[in-house]
Symmetry: C3
Subunit: 671 residues, 3 copies
């Protein structure tokens, strides 16, 4: 499977757990009726169903699932079929306690919760393969089934003896000789030198707790473990029918695994998006999720699925707020605008018990369609039908590429420097993304290994590129040389992929491209600030001030305060046919918006709407349609470049359009 799977339509539906309702046959019947009413065309079935599918070791019970899938298909509803490995049944934990995960402090978990299997356990793998095979043999050919949903929200790691052994094997493969491991982990520090592979244990707060390179390798290993497990499940189910595609639902900017790496083991990327609306600024929240949507699209550079979202609220945040009128449609159009092919929910129906019994669902405990949530969901179903022409129009090719790299994120965190626990890589990437998103620009993400060819882009942005890997220095050099515009920031080129700090001047191998070198890293408390003076403007600086020296670069902006007032903070260097910018400090949104605005205009990069948009409003283009979104709590009037038709309402607007609070429209040029 190397091409993008094609589904019958934009998928609309969600997690469906009929196995919790087998004693309520009238509910199961009613479900189909309500799904049809809500314009649901696909549901995810079988997540966490292991105990129902294999109630006793080796004895499968598929009768109930046969009925469920047939009933759905009879109702015209497709099935995303899950493998049940997200939680093992109690009998397995009882008979084979080694399937239970061992924690960070080397203590083994007891039976309970979910996502806590040991990924190395031979018996857990064997049991998973067996049930996956049985499921595939039974359902892979069913016309209702359109996609495999492997396990659920993979997470975490294990330190059991088998995983420890696998960790050592991973390191042996990576380093060959123990001497090489010692060299890269710099074990001379604190006399940590290993003289026997058996001495190497996973990092732990009660063991080896503070070696940065070791921690990064542990995260790489955890990714490899997860990927290997996912690949095993994929192979198992596709051994029966190679044409049925596979996904695994991911989670936001998830810490544990390198998603660029993990995505290689699936055919289509899907993820679970849970914004916290109406807690803080909804526009900021939306930009963060827009970024992750683009990132998910970029993982395989193809359309992705929104596998879970809430039709109303969740139950696990500190404060759980209901969505205000309009917000459900608006927040469902957000992923569509960034390239999603579905709007799916957790969950179809609220369970009567369990940890998430009060998580939002399309159908509540009252069981009726007479709720605001049900009507909101139905409206999204209708919208998806109206937007059907866009299904085959994915997000247009981007001219801007941002680097987001999990291994770099880990390296920054474990490096212990600056503001230590709070260098805020994610927040920084999001703030650069936001400035461009607000401009209506299309953006791709790449990690350092993935960005093999940057020539398709005009602008490459690489915030906080602390750990360089995959020959990124050479790639960026070539990109600029050939006429590209590069933006880099503080921390660039400090460490190598091998875990060792670069020797010599930094940013490593890029000082001539950037025309600067870095000297010191000052960080500020939350109460401290500096300023950037550029042109006639002054912008506030927080958190990080890198002290740099301009060698060949033009000094565009300088620090305004402290003993380094007047020294360079923002520089531009001509190199080859292109130019390279360096921003040495953390600046606020306003500065980024203004600066990128000028860059985008200068580079003539296309925008969804060329006009200035009011606060809270964003426009994104997909397949020639402009998704105009208002995240402000008040109505906004937007000037239009001409007559445009709103696909959602089939109305035409002339010069301007008025969006209500949390309003959205999808505009195409009106004939």
């Amino acid at each position: 499977m190397n091409c993008t799977p094609r589904f019958p339509a934009f998928l609309h539906g969600g997690d469906y757990n009929p196995d919790q309702w087998l004693e309520y046959p009238e509910v199961l019947e009613e479900d189909i009726r309500l799904m049809q009413k809500a314009k649901v065309n696909a549901v995810s079935v079988g997540i966490f169903s292991w105990a129902k599918l294999e109630p006793e070791e080796g004895k499968y019970d598929f009768a109930w699932l046969d009925a469920v899938i047939d009933r759905l298909w009879a109702g015209g509803i497709h099935v995303v079929l899950a493998t049940p490995s997200g939680a093992r049944p109690a009998w397995m934990a009882q008979k084979y306690p080694e399937v239970l995960r061992v924690g960070e402090d080397f203590r083994q978990a007891h039976f309970g919760n979910r996502h806590n299997h040991c990924p190395s356990s031979p018996v857990f793998r064997e049991k998973t393969r067996a049930i996956d095979r049985a499921l595939a043999e039974r359902y892979a050919g069913h016309p209702a089934v359109i996609l495999w949903h492997i396990s659920n929200e993979f997470s975490g790691d294990c330190r059991c003896p088998a995983c420890q052994e696998n960790f050592r094997r991973f390191l042996q493969k990576r380093y060959g000789l123990l001497e090489e491991l010692n060299r890269h982990w710099w074990t001379g520090f604190w006399s940590m030198t290993y003289t026997d592979w058996a001495q190497v244990e996973p990092p732990s707060s009660i063991g080896q707790g503070a070696n940065p390179a070791m921690w990064v390798d542990w995260r790489r290993f955890s990714t490899a473990q997860c990927k290997d497990f996912l690949a095993m499940e994929k192979e198992t189910v596709q051994a029966v029918d190679p044409s049925l595609p596979v996904t695994a639902n991911l989670m936001h900017l998830f810490w544990d695994y390198d998603y660029f790496d993990l995505a290689e083991a699936m055919d289509v990327v899907s993820w679970d998006a849970y914004p916290s609306w109406h807690i803080g600024d909804d526009y900021l929240e939306a930009s963060q999720f827009a970024m992750t949507h683009d990132l998910m699209r970029s993982l395989k550079d193809q359309p992705f699925l929104l596998m879970e979202s809430t039709p109303s609220l969740v139950n696990w945040q500190a404060v759980n707020r209901v969505k205000k009128p309009g917000m459900h449609l608006l927040s469902s159009m957000l992923p569509l605008a960034q390239g999603a092919q579905s709007v799916m929910y957790f969950q179809w129906r609220k369970g009567r018990g369990g940890a998430e019994m009060f998580h939002g669902a399309v159908v509540g405990h009252d069981g009726t369609a007479d709720t605001r949530t049900f009507r909101d969901v139905t409206r999204v179903g209708e919208a998806l039908e109206k937007l059907a022409p866009l299904y085959d129009s994915p997000k247009a090719p981007a001219k801007v590429c941002m680097l987001y790299d999990w291994q770099n994120k880990w390296a920054i965190h474990y490096a212990q420097m600056g503001r230590r626990e709070n260098m805020d890589y994610d927040g920084t990437v999001i703030s650069h993304y936001r400035a461009l998103w607000k401009l209506g620009v299309n953006i791709d993400f790449r990690d350092m290994r993935e960005c093999t060819d940057l020539s398709q882009y005009q602008l490459v942005i690489a915030p906080m590129l602390f750990m360089t890997r995959g020959g990124i220095e050479e790639k960026l050099r070539r990109f600029v040389e050939q006429g590209g515009t590069l933006v880099m920031t503080y921390l660039a080129g400090t460490m190598g992929e091998d875990g060792l700090a670069h020797l010599g001047r930094t940013p490593h191998s890029l000082t001539d491209v950037l025309g600067i070198h870095t000297e010191e890293l000052d960080t500020l408390t939350d109460a401290q600030h500096n300023s950037l003076r550029w042109g006639q403007r002054v912008s506030r600086i927080s958190q990080v001030c890198e002290l740099i020296r301009a060698d060949t670069a033009e000094v565009v902006g300088t620090y305004g305060e402290d003993f380094y007032a007047g020294t360079p903070c923002l520089t531009r260097n001509h190199f080859g046919a292109g130019e390279a910018w360096y921003l040495a400090a953390r600046t606020e949104d306003g500065m980024l918006a203004a600066w990128y605005g000028e860059l985008i205009r200068a580079l003539k990069i296309p925008r969804a709407l060329p006009t200035e948009l009011p606060d809270g409003v964003v426009a994104q283009e997909r397949g020639g349609a402009v998704f105009l979104q208002n995240y402000a709590p008040e109505r906004r009037i937007v000037a239009l470049p001409g007559r445009m038709r709103d696909l959602l309402t089939d109305t035409v607007a002339e010069k301007e359009i008025c969006l209500p609070a949390y309003g959205v429209c999808v505009l195409t040029a009106a004939e």
Copy 2:
């Protein structure tokens, strides 16, 4: 023992630990002299004395206790005799390590501290029974001994193999078949289905950590374990003399156990009250403790004992403040006003060492009576003598009943919804209580199972009645039908006692009584607010806004903000001969005071003083006497309905009385 025990007088005294002072015979002599001087008439002896009573396994030493009790009795002082099970001796932990408790994470404690026995341990039970029997045989007939004090401040739970086995037995009794347990715990969620009773373990952060119904059952089980242990001790000591009553000292709105249930295993309720004076608003603090006093009185619907309080300060709060002049008498009158029959202290004399060596005591390390604390205590002793006529006048029958239900509290906490960790059941109940207490109204508490007959009440208040149990729906329906006034609030009737969410419209089985049904639950961050508009008034709303629809109810108040502005927030419904109110949001004290003020006036419910009282002043009636209490840091002038005599000073006031800061008087109609 089914009637209220009668003691010789209001008890005044406290925990007395002569076993710590056996090497200081002059101190033991001096104690008697000082007790007499301080008007002490009863002390609690033997708490934590196991190591002294049984210094070696099976070898009892009662000689010192004989002397102590005889010396006390010779001095005219009664004895509350404790069983020593609050802490086992070191030799027992050494020889029988299974008596040590196993924690939440399945790790066994080492010897140390207190209250950490395993309640299931056969050997701990056997040793407890043996020493209890020996104590009873020796002292039950002693004229000084008036009450058994079982163990001390029962708390916590244990996850050792024996307790796990008991937990499974408890569940077997509750559910019969494992299928039923699976059904009620909704184990289909996250594939948690049990197929063997042996798979069921206690909830744990490293095991099954997130099932609401399981957690509630664990708390029920822990209550049952504690009750069974208490009952065992009670039976043991009363096997010798069934006429000597039994108590166990409780703790505030204690999380671990259902006190309504636990109270069944004792003859008289006692508790340990430790307000934090002078940290925040003393009036708010007083109202909270007044509520708990009323709750303790309500547990068995009979007078209760204040078993511990501090004569000065404690040592275990973050900041420990001394009581300001007047506060000791005032805070000692507070429980009396709510129906207490004693003022007892922890502790008589400060120990020279140990964890609480700086906890306040009647006698300090200086050993003298020449302290402010000793004089304050003596003044309380004198006051109790003056109030002797009230001993046989318990709190008058209340016309208002509030529901406070431990199982409901647990259910709300474990349910994971809304503001998750912070739905604040206790705080909400207290705020409703406070409004009525301020009005001088008598209030009883019931839990859902206990409130078999509500017909004696005019007004029943059921805040946040999330989990319904004991047929409460039917009881409330009947109460309103027959003319009662019912107040309910958000969350009402959401879950059943069986752990499952109610299906259909909520509040379950009460929508016709209330004339409304609930639709959505919005919760707010601490920075967010809404408002209630009722009549000409506007009150602030915080934390919780439930969205409801009025079916037959009259809309008395509406929301002022957000998209649900104008929808019902406060409603009244006529049903049968009565009426039912519903308050859908959390409102502030001012709103509750005004609203309940109108209700109380309309219902003509009697008040201690019918006049408006100044800020900080509260009046409560007991046995025809009005306890007029000033919690303000300034003097207050209170208008009186006529000539009244202050029993404490034997002075008569006409039209008004002036209370100094922290002043108190006990007024009766003057002849």
Copy 3:
């Protein structure tokens, strides 16, 4: 070794880890060149080198260290030679897991990190002795080697079976009979009485967690363990050459051990000072470190070494800021002014990996001398050469003595009273110290056991002398009787060294000396305050208000608020030929500065500069030279008593001198 070791000069250098760079021979060569350039004359070698020195059990490899030391010596650089016991090699943890420490919760650590050996482990001791002996035999006679650096930053404790056994032995020695232990630990409380030594375990949060006396004894034991280990290493290396002195680097006001006790096991005290400049008020920060410098000097009453400091920034604080221009010289002169004989750094060169790869170093990853840090360090090297005449002029004898006592600190913390976790002993001592430091007064520290002869002092200050020990009452009485001035504060004389509260009036045995006795301890929340009225002045009071009664003392100041307004807060008592002050509340810096200013003037105690200094400026005298230091972020003009020469710049100032921001000069009378 009982006299102060004499080194060739003020030492300038730092931790040098060539063992991490053995694969980079060009770096090792470059190191010598750069050290010479930076005026480095001594480096610490071999810290954490065990894995390199003994790569396999019993097989030593000294070749690399031979070369390193020879190369240094050829370059004219001295060596401080470390024993490697700060971290054991991996093979040792693998073969002898008992060398790994057992934690507070009785769980054994896995291999990793540092400073986590078991101090009792026979095998760890044997291995340490063997390698120490081998090092001594090889290098003790090397002309480069001037000092032994034992282990590194001793810390922590262990609860393994061997340590438990040692704990019991320690207690047996201290108490003899178990009955005596029971008596002093007051085990009657909570029935904790021990009947078999084997029942006694270390304190633990999962065992015996709350006995104050036990905790203090545990800290005493931990000190004894550490001291015994240090003594073992000292004896081992000095068995070869008794003339080579020994130090162990200490850490600030470190909690774990009694440094007065520990210092007895070394020949010269050294410590690692890491102020957090530019985070808060630099003047406050400086005063805190000045205090610790004086304390370190006082431990053995002889000059001390600054063993570690950072040449730029650290990497382990929440926010790590670079030093502003001037600050490195200023902060290096601070210890000199208080009596240090060295300025040493962690570390010479930044490692390429490991936990502290981004900790500041003289040489960074760029490997050049062309950095601000390198220039700052060189400037300090030059300054030390200019100050050479001061090497043999230690700090002048002080007339003021402050009591700082580790056991008192522990006792206050474990006692559980007042503001419990926050009585702030260290902060209180520092605030008294600051007032005197600002006045330019020389100050010695003593603990209660050490202060055998107070007659050399005019003023003795004993803040929060909660636990009295070492006969301090008698020492203070004699001091006042003979004409001394004593200052005591709240909490004085409450507990005895034996763990028991003093009986009778407090301050124990000092009520006649002070002319007061204490009655109650009120503590305040952070939001609450009182005031001190003394003379015409009013000062704010925070945190602690002790209520006292003046017996013979003159009341100099009274409380301004609360019910104890008007009662004594500051008193003075004439006793014998001297006088004793008592300050009952925590007052702010302004009050202490004014009050001590009057005392110092009245007592005619000499000051570095008699004039009033501007804010942020401090003057300290050493060997006739005045270290004038400006911690303000702006320049300051200071009036001079006459013509003075700045040793650092060799310039002469007349009436006044202008210090830039963070400026420093070292002034002597100009001829």
